[in-house]
């Protein structure tokens, strides 16, 4: 029997080129841990935090997925450029009790010395904060043979700063809080459209937003000026779907842009089907929100 080989297969095997949309981060083609929301997103050592993972597959959310959680227990050496130490991919972890998509665990009491600026007695180099002045406790999440990390912002004192700056920082600082996604809206040819009646093969424009309070102003230590400077949060939305193609994988507003909505174009699949869409809102200081939407793509009558 003759076996027919499509040009697409030839392309995949010979040229090693996958279809362009397969390279899109926004297209969910297998199990993924898209996001983890921690509540609160900034905690003091010893404070309880609720972690909730967004575990997805091309068939939708996996609310019942078995998820393993662990606190990373090894600070990142200076020789590594990643966000967490490679040791935390091995045994340098403290397991968290619980195996569901959401668990509650107390932030380790030694987190400010492991991942923050507190150093042992003597002249040691404090760890550097991120651009927002934050330090983070990495938390490892494993599900469906995928590994992810969420960085829980931790409340620690500022390292090696003038006394006046430390006092002012202690007075003005406010723990970060999660931003909140507003409901998703869809438009076809400029007209509002229901999410359960999107046209197959059509061009859809989605719009989502957040509260103006989510782009809050916060003080951060500027090591060059050796002083506190006010910064505003930048917010960005990551878009994920199981079919179709977005214009952009990520949209957002910079810290200077006070607008509270973003929009994104989406080319609906040609066939009528149920499609899943996820939105992840990140604020740059460890704050996260996410939302899930089933979309019904229908053929024109």
């Amino acid at each position: 029997m003759k076996r027919r080989v499509s040009w697409g297969t030839v392309c995949l095997v010979v040229a090693g080129c996958l279809p362009a949309e397969a390279e899109r981060e926004s297209l969910v083609t297998g199990p993924r841990i898209l996001a983890v929301r921690s509540e609160p997103p900034e905690s003091k050592p010893g404070a309880p935090v609720l972690y909730e993972a967004l575990v997805v597959t091309p068939d939708g959310d996996l609310q019942g997925a078995v998820v393993r959680w662990a606190f990373c227990a090894a600070p990142k050496p200076l020789t590594e450029n990643g966000s967490v130490s490679t040791a935390c991919l091995g045994d340098a972890v403290r397991p968290i009790v619980g195996a569901s998509v959401s668990v509650t665990a107390a932030t380790p009491t030694d987190t400010c010395s492991l991942f923050g600026p507190e150093t042992p007695p003597g002249d040691f180099r404090p760890r550097d904060p991120d651009a927002t002045g934050g330090f983070y406790q990495p938390v490892c999440v494993e599900a469906l043979e995928r590994t992810a990390f969420v960085l829980e912002r931790i409340t620690c004192n500022l390292p090696n700063v003038p006394l006046g700056v430390a006092v002012e920082y202690a007075e003005r600082r406010a723990p970060n809080r999660n931003p909140k996604l507003a409901p998703l809206r869809a438009f076809v040819n400029g007209a509002p459209t229901s999410l359960d009646a999107l046209p197959a093969g059509g061009d859809v424009r989605f719009e989502v937003g957040w509260s103006a309070d989510d782009a809050e102003v916060y003080p951060a230590f500027d090591p060059r000026k050796q002083a506190l400077v006010d910064q505003r949060k930048a917010l960005r939305v990551s878009w994920y779907t199981t079919a179709g193609a977005f214009e952009s994988d990520v949209t957002g507003r910079s810290s200077e842009d006070l607008a509270t909505t973003v929009s994104n174009g989406w080319s609906a699949p040609d066939e009528a089907s149920r499609v899943f869409l996820w939105l992840v809102l990140r604020d740059g200081r460890g704050g996260t929100d996410f939302a899930r939407y089933p979309l019904d793509v229908k053929s024109p009558l």
Binding site: L18, E23, E25, R32, I33, L34, A35, V36, A74, P75, K76, P77, L78, T79, E80, N81, G82, S83, V84, S85, T86, L89, T119, P120, G122, D123, F124, R125, R127, D128, P129, D130, A131, Y136, V141, R146, T147, A148, F149, V150, L151, N160, V161, P162, G164, V165, D222, P223, R224, Q226, R236, S238, V250, V280, R282, G286, T288
Partner: protein
Amino acid sequence: MRNVAVTAGVDALASRASLLRQGSLTLPPREGDLYVFGQPPGSDVNADDWSTNIVDVGPFLVAELRLGPFLVTPGLRADLFLVKGSRSTPRVGQTPGIGSSRLLPALDPRLSVSVSPVEHVTISASGGLYHQPPSAEDLGPVFGAPTLVLSRAAHASAGASVRLPAGFDVEVTGFFVSLDDLVVRSRLPTPHLAAALTQDGEGESFGVQVLARRQLRNGFYGWIAYTASRSERRYAGDTSFRLFDHDQSHVLTATAGYEWREWNFGVRFRHATGVPRTPVVDSFHDTTAGRFQPIFGTQNGTRLPSFQALDLRVQKAISVRRASVVLSLDVTNVTNQDNPEEIIYNYDFSRKSFISGLPVLAILGARVEL
């Protein structure tokens, strides 16, 4: 003929640098760092501004002694480095910095011996010590270490050269270099203050170089140079070496030219082993940043594909009154070889491809000499 010739002198070099650095400590990557091309910097940020003055005064003495058939060249170099930095510790507020000033001496004995056992054959061997001061950019108290001292290298080489008929020369040289006190990042998660860099680096390089030349005769000239080498690095105390980030096992360059009247024709072929890279074996998702991070395999456990290029050059000189005009056509990478320059990955590091170098490129030029 004198049997002894002595040369003495003093080298002096002074440099001043004012530096400002702001951003992540881990980028730009240093030799030995694990990273992939295009990887964003770490989220950690800091800032520092500092200045350095480095003065080197190096008196030296070199003697040439003719001992029978041997030409012996002993030498001694005594460097005194003055290394001054504006700050010993990171800045806190507006407190003035406490600078540092250090004198770093270095004594470098060197020796070279050569002999011609038969006509047209020369055998030589040499060795010696070399010292190098730290770079100004490594002496900052936040991103570097103001207390860095000299790095040291011990060189040894031996070889032979043979002059053949018809204008051919062949040289073969073996070499070995041992490196100590190299500046590397501290591997401690919490290093001492103003000690982000240490001098725990060690290294060695060894190999052989062959050079065959044909001097210009009957309009034809050319040379072939081939080097086989291996360069390795490790932290002091480690049991094994790893490949140096820029190690190249084989480097071959062959050049030939032919002169005919006002015309000059040239051809060059280059081949080089690709430099090492650390493979990405997996990845994880940093859900806070919203991007994937690589998980690395064995450090420098793979290489970029090798580089090959064939280049051509045609040149013609024309005399116009009192001026000389040289017209040239250079064609690089004549065979349009797709030479990978760097590895790039897709968003989750599951697929890789390469950034390639220039395709075939022709350049027409003219030079006027009055």
